[in-house]
């Protein structure tokens, strides 16, 4: 059990399929300031790779990924 990550905003994208988790993540990150952290929860198994690709292309940093039973949690630090 790791220590709970701190975050500045939460995005619930559970139950949504491609491309909505990415589109909503982009919108949510835009509301943050540099180095703030967005926590995103998804259930789309494709979002694990999608989120990594999105972060790579947009220059944002995925600080941590957690996988639960059917859910994925991403902590994304706004860099760009």
């Amino acid at each position: 059990m790791s220590a709970e990550m701190k975050f500045d905003a939460l995005l619930d994208a559970k139950g949504l399929s491609c491309p909505l988790p990415i589109l909503k993540t982009k919108k949510a990150v835009e509301t943050l300031t540099k180095d703030q952290v967005l926590k995103v929860e998804t259930t789309d198994p494709g979002s694990k790779n999608d989120m990594a690709s999105w972060a790579k292309r947009t220059g944002n940093e995925i600080v941590k990924v957690e996988e639960g039973s059917g859910t994925f949690t991403f902590y994304i630090k706004k860099k760009a």
Binding site: G15, L16, S17, C18, P19, L20, I22, L23, T25, K26, D44, S53, W54, R57, T58, A80
Partner: protein
């Protein structure tokens, strides 16, 4: 660093074939890629006013279409079967949390995706500029080629 660029030619107007251009366009915009979509032939149906959520899917000539029971081609061509296949597909998309075509089109416009209507096919098919949603520009092959020449990703759908 300059944004990467992508263009898509959207040439199909069925519900299933309207998804790929809009999914890729909205996602590309979210990845800081500048996107141009060139709507031509049946793809124009996607950008006709109040039409994005009225696109249909045909069960005829589409052996991969998932159906509750196998449907012979002759039966698939009966009246009502297209409406049934369309309703079924929409409910499957909805159940899986997939945005509708109308929602994706709105998201594309919001995120600055450039939409171009093909003037030649509009003329041929009797589509007026006033039949097309606001914010669309109009042009032809040279307009797309100009955009495509500067793009890293160019798709024909």
């Amino acid at each position: 660093m300059a944004n990467k660029k992508m263009t898509i030619i959207a040439s199909k107007g069925s519900l299933d074939m309207a998804y790929p251009p809009l999914i890729l366009a909205t996602t590309a915009a979210a990845m800081d890629i500048d996107v141009t979509i060139f709507f031509t032939f049946y793809g124009l149906d996607i950008i006709k006013k109040n039409n994005a959520d009225n696109l249909k899917i045909s069960p005829v000539g589409n052996p991969a279409l998932p159906m509750p029971v196998p449907i012979p081609t002759l039966v698939a061509s009966l009246p009502g079967m297209e409406a049934m296949a369309t309703a079924m597909m929409k409910s499957m998309f909805n159940k899986h949390g997939v945005a509708s075509i109308g929602q994706l089109l709105d998201l594309a416009r919001e995120s600055g995706v450039k939409l171009i209507g093909c003037q030649m096919t509009m003329d041929v098919m009797g589509v007026k500029q006033s039949d097309i949603i606001d914010g669309v520009e109009f042009g032809g092959a040279a307009t797309w080629l100009d955009a495509a020449s500067d793009a890293q990703i160019n798709l024909f759908i």
